[in-house]
C-alpha cells in the first residue's frame, strides 16, 4: 500500500537534533515500503528485499576524513561517505563502493559523531554527508544528524534523484545542499547511468532545494558531453535558477566502467573546458570555485 507521509514544518523551537531524531524514527518505518529515491521501488528493506540500490536496512560507510577538494566556501570539510547508490553511472569515481551497499563498515553513529566533534575541534568548517548516495540511507543519516553538534554546519551532497518523501524528511536539517546535475538530456542519462526520466527528477529537486537552503549545483564536465549535457544544463540554470551557485568541475578521469563508452576514455581537454566556460558566461551563471 502506498504510504502517505505527513511531516509538518518544523516548529522554530525544535532543535535540529530533536527534529532529526523524530524523523529518524519516521523514516525507519518507511524502509518497509522504500520510496526514498525517484526509482520508487516500494520494496521492504526491513525483511531483506532489495531495490535498485541493493541497500538493506543497515547503512555502511566507506570513508570519513577531512577533505579539501570541494567548493572553497565549504573546505576543509569532514566528509562522511555512505556506501551504495541508486544510480549506476559508468564513470563513477567510487564505483566499487557506490555500486555496492555492502562495502565499507557498518555505520556506528555514536562513534562517527565523536569523530565529527574531533574534526570540528581540529578546524573543519563543515560536515559533509555524501555517498554513494546518502538519500538511500535516510534513517541512519538522520540518526547521525541527531547526534551532531547543533552548531556544526552540515552539507548534504546528493545526486538530486531523491523523492518528495526524502525532501520532506530532509527539510530544515542541512545548511547547504551540493546537488549534482549530471546529464543535460534523458538520452545520456539512460545510456551512461541506466537512468530513466532524469531531467524531471533532477529539476524538481533543484528547484525545491533552491527555495529551502543554500544550494550549490555541481556539474562534472565530461569529455564529449559539453554540447549535449553542459549546454542545456547551463541554459536551464540561467533561466530557471538565476544567480544560483554553480560549481563546474573539470576533473573527470576515466574510472570504473568508462571503457563501455568510447568518449569517456580520456580527460576533458582545454578546448572543451574553454567552451564550457564560455557557455557559462553566456548563460550568466554564478560560478563558484
Amino acid at each position: 500500500m502506498r504510504q502517505v507521509l505527513e511531516i509538518p514544518s518544523p516548529p522554530r523551537e525544535l532543535t535540529r537534533a530533536r527534529l532529526a531524531a523524530r524523523r529518524a524514527t519516521q523514516s525507519r518505518a518507511l524502509l518497509s515500503d522504500c520510496r526514498f529515491c525517484a526509482h520508487d521501488c516500494g520494496v521492504n528493506r526491513l525483511i531483506g528485499e532489495r531495490g535498485v540500490c541493493r541497500a538493506g536496512a543497515e547503512a555502511r560507510i566507506f570513508s570519513a576524513q577531512m577533505e579539501a577538494a570541494d567548493e572553497l566556501e565549504l573546505i576543509p570539510t569532514y566528509a562522511i561517505a555512505f556506501s551504495g547508490c541508486d544510480l549506476r553511472c559508468a564513470f563513477c569515481v567510487t564505483g566499487r563502493q557506490s555500486w555496492n551497499a555492502a562495502a565499507g563498515r557498518v555505520l556506528e553513529t555514536s562513534q562517527v559523531a565523536a569523530m565529527v566533534e574531533q574534526a570540528l575541534d581540529e578546524g573543519a568548517r563543515t560536515v559533509m554527508i555524501l555517498g554513494g548516495e546518502p538519500t538511500i540511507h535516510l534513517p541512519s543519516v538522520l540518526d547521525l544528524v541527531a547526534r551532531l553538534p547543533e552548531e556544526a554546519r552540515l552539507v548534504w551532497k546528493t545526486n538530486a534523484h531523491g523523492s518528495a518523501i526524502a525532501r520532506r524528511l530532509l527539510r530544515g536539517l542541512f545548511d547547504v545542499w551540493v546537488a549534482d546535475y549530471k546529464f543535460g538530456n534523458d538520452r545520456c542519462a539512460e545510456r551512461l547511468a541506466l537512468l530513466p526520466g532524469y531531467q524531471r527528477v533532477v529539476r524538481d529537486n533543484l528547484v525545491w532545494a533552491s527555495g529551502e537552503t543554500d544550494l550549490i549545483v555541481r556539474h562534472l564536465l565530461m569529455p564529449g558531453h559539453v554540447e549535449c549535457c553542459w549546454q542545456p544544463i547551463a541554459a536551464w540554470l540561467g533561466e530557471t535558477l538565476p544567480g544560483v551557485k554553480v560549481s563546474l568541475r573539470a576533473e573527470y578521469w576515466p574510472k570504473w566502467h568508462f571503457a563501455l563508452h568510447p568518449e569517456l576514455v580520456r580527460t576533458v581537454n582545454d578546448t572543451e573546458l574553454e567552451r564550457a566556460r564560455s557557455i557559462a558566461a553566456c548563460c550568466k551563471l554564478n560560478l563558484v570555485p
Partner: protein, 61 residues
C-alpha cells in the same frame, strides 16, 4: 607489513592520477595533500587556494 582489508578500509585515502602531460588529478584531496601538491607545482592557483584555506569553526549562522 602487509595490511589487512579491514585495516585498509579504516584508513582515509586519496588517489592521484598523473597524466602524460604532467597534469595531476586527485580524488579525495586532503588539506595535507593539497599542501604537498602546491610545493610540487606552485603555479597551480586552484591547488594553492585549497592548501591555503585556514581552518575555521562553527560557521552556522
Amino acid at each position: 607489513m602487509k595490511k589487512t582489508k579491514s585495516q585498509r578500509e579504516k584508513e582515509p585515502g586519496s588517489e592521484l592520477l598523473v597524466l602524460p602531460d604532467g597534469r595531476v588529478m586527485v580524488h579525495n584531496l586532503t588539506p595535507c595533500l593539497a599542501a604537498v601538491l602546491t610545493v610540487l607545482d606552485p603555479a597551480d592557483r586552484v591547488m594553492k587556494a585549497r592548501a591555503s584555506v585556514r581552518p575555521g569553526k562553527n560557521l552556522r549562522s
